[in-house]
Subunit: 518 residues, 2 copies
Amino acid sequence: MDTDEFREFGKAAVDYLADYTDTLRERPVIPNVEPGYLGRLIPDEAPEKPESWQEVLGDVERVIMPGMTHWNSPQFHGYFPSAVSYPSVVAEMLSAGIGCLGFSWMTSPVCTELEVTMMNWLGKMLGLPEQFLNCTKGPGGGVIQSSASVATFVGLLAAKERTTRRMMKLHPDWSEADIKAKLIAYTSDQANSSVEKAGLLGSMPMRHLPSDEHCRLRGSTLLEAIEKDEREGLIPCYVVATLGTTGTCAHDCLEELGPICNDKNVWLHVDAAYAGAAFVCPEFRHLMSGVEFADSFDFNPHKWLLVNFDCSAMWVKDSRYLVEAFNVDRIYLAHEKEGQQPDYRHWQIPLGRRFRALKLWFVMRMYGVQGLQNYIRHTVNLAKQFEGYIRNDDRFEIVTEVTMALVCFRMKGDNSNTRELLDKLLARRKIYVIAATYREKLFIRFVVCSSLCEARDMEFAWKEVSERATEILNPVPQQDVAVMSAIESSKEPATNIATMIKDLKIEHGLKEKAPKIS
Amino acid sequence: MDTDEFREFGKAAVDYLADYTDTLRERPVIPNVEPGYLGRLIPDEAPEKPESWQEVLGDVERVIMPGMTHWNSPQFHGYFPSAVSYPSVVAEMLSAGIGCLGFSWMTSPVCTELEVTMMNWLGKMLGLPEQFLNCTKGPGGGVIQSSASVATFVGLLAAKERTTRRMMKLHPDWSEADIKAKLIAYTSDQANSSVEKAGLLGSMPMRHLPSDEHCRLRGSTLLEAIEKDEREGLIPCYVVATLGTTGTCAHDCLEELGPICNDKNVWLHVDAAYAGAAFVCPEFRHLMSGVEFADSFDFNPHKWLLVNFDCSAMWVKDSRYLVEAFNVDRIYLAHEKEGQQPDYRHWQIPLGRRFRALKLWFVMRMYGVQGLQNYIRHTVNLAKQFEGYIRNDDRFEIVTEVTMALVCFRMKGDNSNTRELLDKLLARRKIYVIAATYREKLFIRFVVCSSLCEARDMEFAWKEVSERATEILNPVPQQDVAVMSAIESSKEPATNIATMIKDLKIEHGLKEKAPKIS
């Protein structure tokens, strides 16, 4: 393809994307396909000869869209958001088209330097303690990782490095293997499944400590667990506290956990994957109070800050432990930041790295701090609007306090009505919500996800929920039979809800508490 | 930004990228900046108010380009390529703009299904044994990872899972921790640094076995090492064989290594990060003969197959070990592929995953199998052209056989002339080549990287190399003084070459053999 053809093709794709976004509200948010649908639409081998861009672009609508779950539809209220914004999309295209790899300063100076600067901009915008920033004298700094899961794992490896070094100094007669076999990590029973996975990958047992009635991990619970383990000869190494849990957007009590971690020399990692974005607004920062005790902090601009996936922003107070954990040269690097730039290949698992800082630069400049604050507040207000509908209707109850843009609600009484409501919502495919459970109660998670969401979308979702509740509580025989037969004629709703509940349980780690849903 | 503004902005960015590509040949491939240059060009905080897209896009040229190493310049011959093609760039933009996350089938059916199908297309195109493909009955299948480093690490975790299970069955009295502490991995001294890193991250010692005079790992070397370790009570678990090493593009002898691994129940992972792309051409497939013994195979379409970073294609013969290593539910999944789709979140480290299969779909369709074959052959022919210049000049020698598009050459004699040549080339910034060493000999790696490369670029590079050699061997005092003073007036060349050599040593793990270069 020559450049002239690319100009045509690229612009047609821009128009396609613009049209797609403009029609998102009208597209069914959940696709109506069975597993294996794609095999009937495309051949099972690559073509021998080239096809035209017109054919391929046309097939996006014909082949791709029927199987698409529209994460940026204003009717998508599942999981947490997958951010998209036009500035970010354009930056992604430019980054792809330039194709530089910034694994060291030399391999593309701007790739490293823009990342350093953007992580400073972003850290300041969030009000992070300055020890985390690269622009201060100390060994702190920020780096873009691919996801919060990866950041949790990277934190674990750095923690392992730090603790192992410390214990080897304290006990020169202990072997490195013996020390590593005794390391132990902690998180709450509300932590994302990726925290458990980090423990699994890093061969460090991860204790899931019970959260309090507001789903928060408390200091006393952690202290008790640490002391018990210490008595048994284990070595507490790593704590993952969550700000904005996947289940209910709860915030662990950093002010209680932090001093314990510092006192016990345990690495405190803060996983603020979703909630972190809200800290661009000063009125939410009380929820991260105690962050100054943390050793590392991560949040996903690719969730709620208009930067498309992937872009997970991680800061550490002392980058030397990271570098030591990852540097295959295993040389202890003195910290001489003056005039030096970080070698980001030693801050991450892979060697190669894309120019993702460009997305942050485009988004922060084209929205400005105020624009991003407005965006967060707008989203939170929409959630409040939806919460209001629920609170004003006696048939429903709010499960946990709504702090950000996640509303957890259910139908009053036992779980059967909520379960039926979920079945009906999924069968109709008008809105995408997902199920979760807390303390035996089945509830519905409703997240304001899409940047396209407006007041009318909250009304739409509420109308959909409310009408289904009416069908459940006041069944009109004729109508009900029709609806039920529509449901039963399709095998998908049952599959869907089972899959969705399984997905969510896996994702937010509530599996032990989840009642069996058949 | 509204949709209409995006149409303008997106199209302006398409034009910018087209212009950038059209002017790549004229841009200096290596930037002329000092560390910290960016701080003088942009503010140290994000703007309060939004800026216009015109300002931001304009700053790409003013701020970004001066610090850019142009990986897709036809004068870039360092490392291995970072692929770019127009179809891939457009697919990347669409994927970003749609923003779906396919961590399970349900979260976007097409995201999983297109990946399954594209990995089948690609596997067939490479002539991989069909046990690796998802379209056969067995438990094999392909998945897109973010990089070859990650794939190596993922393979290690799956190997650990398989060996641990097997040993626990064989020795029910051994503890899991004891077994894991005895596991051991092997690779050659030519393996990429990421292989060492995988061992480090996965807490499995990685032995770097000596390669033969053609830089290949041989069966007898592996067998000897395995048997020695077995005698000492260790448990051989994982072998990483490289097809196309970073240093010299050597190919380990899979036909020798494979039967040993199978016999010893050791997981054999093939890292064909660079070379894998060449197997779309049947005439290169003899270099992967023995691949049928492998348990996993990975190569990077984002290197030499026109798919932009990231897109690393990994296949496994038995995906159940992967799923077990990553599934936090720890449930042994029976293999019931009929009608089922893989849950890719259990095939990788992070939870979230982008819709990268779209890039493969666009590239394979718009080039066709023949187009991709032509592209590989074109690149290899250009390398042959460059090799011819070197071979026809008595001042130079070829270091290792040229099998693909990497030419390893040096000036005859001790290392001093080659070192001076490298200094001169870097000081002039006309072409980007990097240094490497093998068996005490310093040499220059010249890779045909950019898809823009033509015969005239080989001539250009050769002229640059040849003229510098003439300056070294036949110094004309006046002229030489001028050149030398130009070099000395800048502090960067010295920094650059030291950094580059360090980078490369770190990357391809030749550090033990590298002579000190000051």
